[in-house]
């Protein structure tokens, strides 16, 4: 936990230092700023993920894999926009296929993770 906080703190300081730099140097290019922020988001999420996931015991590695798979089916969000936005028909249809594929992972992934986790039981204390 302390390691996590230190990592977050360090990253936050890094952001503070660098964003003030970019704000002065590239005040006119807000587009670049927006995309730099995305890089920070990625770095912080990867840091946090790294810290948390190294603490997942080998016992739960299969559920972990099923779970992260379900979570990364968040690409459903991007698929939905493409299926429903004002685009040529064939692109909407590609979006529809993407929505279906991602939904399989969202629904199937969370259901199967729960099924697995339900099975992990401790020794029952003798009554």
């Amino acid at each position: 936990m302390t390691a996590l906080l230190t990592a977050l703190g360090a990253a936050a300081a890094l952001i503070a230092a660098t964003t003030s730099d970019t704000a002065t140097a590239a005040a006119s290019t807000t587009l670049v700023d927006a995309q730099i922020v995305e890089v920070y988001v990625f770095l912080l999420a990867a840091f946090t993920g790294f810290q948390i996931i190294t603490k997942v015991p080998p016992l739960l590695h299969t559920p972990l894999m099923a779970a992260t798979n379900a979570i990364s089916a968040i690409s459903l969000v991007a698929s939905i926009v493409i299926a429903g936005a004002e685009r040529p028909l064939f692109i909407n249809i590609m979006g529809m296929v993407a929505v279906a594929a991602a939904t399989i992972n969202v629904v199937g992934g969370f259901v199967i993770t729960d099924r697995m986790l339900k099975m992990f039981k401790k020794t029952e204390s003798p009554k």
């Binding site: 995309q35 995305e38 988001v41 990625f42 999420a45 990867a46 993920g49 790294f50 948390i52 603490k55 997942v56 015991p57 080998p58 016992l59 299969t62 559920p63 972990l64 894999m65 099923a66 779970a67 992260t68 379900a70 979570i71 990364s72 089916a73 968040i74 690409s75 459903l76 969000v77 698929s79 926009v81 493409i82 299926a83 429903g84 004002e86 692109i91 590609m94 979006g95 529809m96 993407a98 929505v99 279906a100 594929a101 991602a102 939904t103 399989i104 992972n105 969202v106 629904v107 199937g108 992934g109 969370f110 199967i112 729960d114 697995m116 099975m119 992990f120 039981k121 401790k122 020794t123």
Partner: protein, 473 residues
């Protein structure tokens, strides 16, 4: 206009909530007690993100979205409910394929969309789009190949052919070269040649997926499946960069980190580098290296009755499960035997090697399904010192992970790999179908030790006999 801004704000709040739910949910997975609640929280986060997205102002029609959601749920729900635990490695592999398919389609759609946008995608978005499509496409076919190998319709043996490495390298550098060219030429707006380059790159990426997994054998699957997990995550993250959506970046980074950590752990457990797993084609080449032949050595085989006598009166038993247990579906018979020993006053623990089975944590899930309490399951590090004090070590369809050559024989191909110290136990009983070598294609000295007895037969039926015999003691 104001409505639109409030809507956009709501979408962002939903995404932030979802990100927090994902991270906290994964934190729940660090303990078995909190894991289930954590995952329910993550599922709620997903629902939040989906509902938020449906309010996106860009969406003008819902018919395709609804069809996609309904079809996906109709396939996903039965898959989630009905897939047996023994088929979990295949199911994980195939789900990487679906995830990558969604990401790749989004990448292609976005690339085509930018052809109509004046000024093009710009360097950063084009970089992200290309990365997304490249990694997405190779994960589609790579996962399909892994699925085929695990399901058994593609041979689990490594497939090699002459000049394989040269051809693979050519395809790989071709795809990467096209990717670089796309970023250099298409960022300012698409041209006709850009479309062709993009199409060829996607096809080459699909080919890479096939050639990447083809030479990798069954026992290396834990690494491959973890690696594909990582790729699927990174591709999702790239999608986030391409369309400027933070929730995709966060979720993709979490998935990427998880897959990366698991691949490293798996490689370490085999004492091999990433590169060696991916390009080594282990089983294929090493089969010829089994220099230490078994000639002149003899094994002692025992009957189930004998084995039952030894196991039944043992005080301290450690069971070492391997892929053989999964194949024979012997986990329920094992649990029955373990309960019997405990009823007779003995202690039973399970020693689980990180790469036992076909994916990370495979054995744990099978034993949990058979109602073995998780506090009986121990990691390599936790239990390795305990073999000294153990009366009987029962090796169940595991081979290479128990081979003492990994410790004592520098000429052995698996030298240096961490193994379970089964040879330290007072007696060893090995349940095995025959004397065939393990995946690495090398002899296991453990089988020829004086203290070792071989119990030949199908793990499930042999164990059922042992259980009957122990009951009659």
């Amino acid at each position: 206009m104001i409505d639109q801004q409030i809507g956009a704000l709501f979408v962002q709040i939903a995404y932030i909530g979802a990100s927090a739910a994902f991270i906290l949910g994964l934190r729940g997975l660090t303990k078995p007690e909190t894991a289930r609640r954590g995952m329910q929280l993550a599922a709620f986060g997903m629902l939040l993100a989906i509902v938020g997205t449906l309010l996106n102002h860009e969406i003008v029609s819902y018919q395709f979205i609804i069809i996609g959601l309904v079809v996906g749920s109709a396939i996903g729900l039965p898959m989630g409910l009905l897939v047996p635990m023994t088929a979990m490695p295949q199911r994980i592999a195939v789900s990487h394929m679906f995830g990558a398919l969604a990401v790749t389609l989004v990448g292609i759609a976005e690339f085509l969309h930018y052809r109509d946008v004046p000024g093009g995608p710009g360097v950063i978005k084009m970089t992200a789009l290309g990365f997304e499509t490249l990694f997405g496409a190779l994960t589609i076919t790579g996962s399909f190949m892994a699925f085929g190998k695990l399901q058994g319709f593609i041979t689990g043996r490594p497939v090699t052919f002459p000049a394989q490495k040269v051809i693979n390298a050519a395809v790989f550098f071709g795809a990467v070269g096209l990717y670089a060219a796309l970023v250099l030429t298409q960022s300012g707006g698409s041209t006709e040649s850009g479309l062709i380059m993009f199409a060829v790159m996607t096809v080459l990426a699909l080919v890479i997926g096939v050639t990447l997994v083809l030479p990798i054998g069954g026992a290396d699957m834990p690494v491959v499946v973890s690696l594909l997990n990582s790729y699927a995550g990174l591709a999702a993250s790239a999608t986030g960069f391409a369309i400027g959506n933070n929730i995709l970046i966060v979720a993709g980074a979490l998935d990427g980190a998880s897959g990366f950590i698991l691949s490293i752990l798996m490689s370490k457990a085999m004492n091999r580098s990433f590169a060696n797993v991916l390009f080594g084609a282990f089983g294929g080449e090493k089969a010829a290296v089994s220099a230490k032949s078994a000639e002149g050595l003899t094994t002692r085989s025992v009957t189930p009755e004998d084995a039952a006598m030894r196991i039944g009166y043992a005080r301290n038993v450690i069971i070492v499960p391997g892929y053989g247990m999964a194949v024979a579906q012997a986990q329920h018979a094992v649990r029955e035997l373990a309960e019997l020993i405990e009823k007779r006053g003995g202690r039973v623990r399970f020693a689980i090697h990180p790469v036992a089975g076909r994916m990370p944590g495979h054995m744990n899930v099978l034993l949990a399904e058979a109602n073995v309490p998780y506090d009986h399951l121990f990691d390599l590090d936790e239990i390795n010192e305990e073999f000294h004090a153990c009366d009987v070590a029962l090796v169940l369809g595991a081979n290479d992970v128990t081979n003492p050559a990994a410790k004592g024989d520098p000429s052995s191909p698996i030298y240096g790999m961490p193994i379970l110290n089964v040879q330290d136990a007072e007696q060893v009983i090995v349940v095995k179908r025959g004397m065939a070598t393990g995946f690495a294609g090398i002899e296991n000295e453990l089988f020829y030790l004086d203290k070792t007895s071989m119990l030949f037969g199908d793990a499930k039926s042999v164990l059922s006999q042992v259980v009957t015999e122990v009951k009659g003691l």
